[in-house]
Amino acid sequence: MRAYVPAAVAVFLGGMITSATLNGADFGHIPWYMSRASGIVAFGLLSLSVILGLTISTKSPKPVIPRGLAFDLHQFLSILTLTLVGAHAGILMFDGFTPFSPLAIVMPFAAPWEPLVTGLGTITAWLLVAVTASFWLRRRIGQRAWRRFHYVSFAAYLLSLLHGLTAGPDTGVPQVHWAYVLSAATVAGLLTYRISFRSGVRTPAASPPRRSGAAASEAARLTSRPASR
């Protein structure tokens, strides 16, 4: 424990010196480029996280990634996304062209540039904070409540997509444009599959005659197996 004290003091002093050095420095457009890049990468990571989450919740009989690894990566990707979202917004405080105040970064629709579309990004960030924090509250709030609250992540994804399409100056770049399309199509496709998969699983349980029919066909399949061998 004592070993951490000098390290903490060194990090604190280093931060103070760095802040004093960077205070008032004109970084020109570098923060703007970094913010754009981190925003696009954050969206890519969020897409991956949502896709992984959908594959977990679909409970496919033959999962491409083992469930344990998928859940672990899903959680990690959420944290990584949140880190990059923090960088995406925080870097704008150092932008020499349109500097954002700390209040404009944390409060929706208070930005000095395009308050409406940047506000969508701020709301997305807060939703992501809540969803990511809920990973650690799962045991406290219960699995059912956690799962229901986790649907907020779809709203966060949708808002981030809207934010990227409307606020991002790189939407016109073909690679970025097609990345948005690919991400949205994959998430929409998986969501449709999940809904249909779930309803397909529930339908036999809801109607007893069908269940008996399915059970009969399953029994027939099982009985015919030895004969085929």
Binding site: G28, H29, G44, G68, D72, L73, E114, D170
Partner: protein, 75 residues
């Protein structure tokens, strides 16, 4: 098993960091290649100098790059 998870996570984090740096450099190089200061911006700066206004070293902020033009137009 846990070690392989850690490696994948480290790979993802390094990949994300590299992508951000690469993206920033890409945007920077593309903007600088496409952003020669427009004559109007230059004229504005030189006029203010000849009129005796205090010379402000904010020519970099006046530089018109596509992204900034968009930001200016939007705001």
């Amino acid at each position: 098993m846990a070690a392989s998870h850690s490696r994948i996570k480290a790979g993802l984090a390094i990949g994300a960091g590299t992508a951000v740096i690469w993206g920033s450099l890409y945007f920077s190089s593309n903007q600088s290649a496409a952003s020669s200061p427009t004559p109007s911006a230059e004229t504005t700066t030189s006029t203010s100098t000849t009129l005796g206004a205090p010379s402000q070293p904010n020519t970099t902020k006046q530089t018109a790059s596509p992204s900034n033009v968009r930001r200016t137009r939007r705001s």
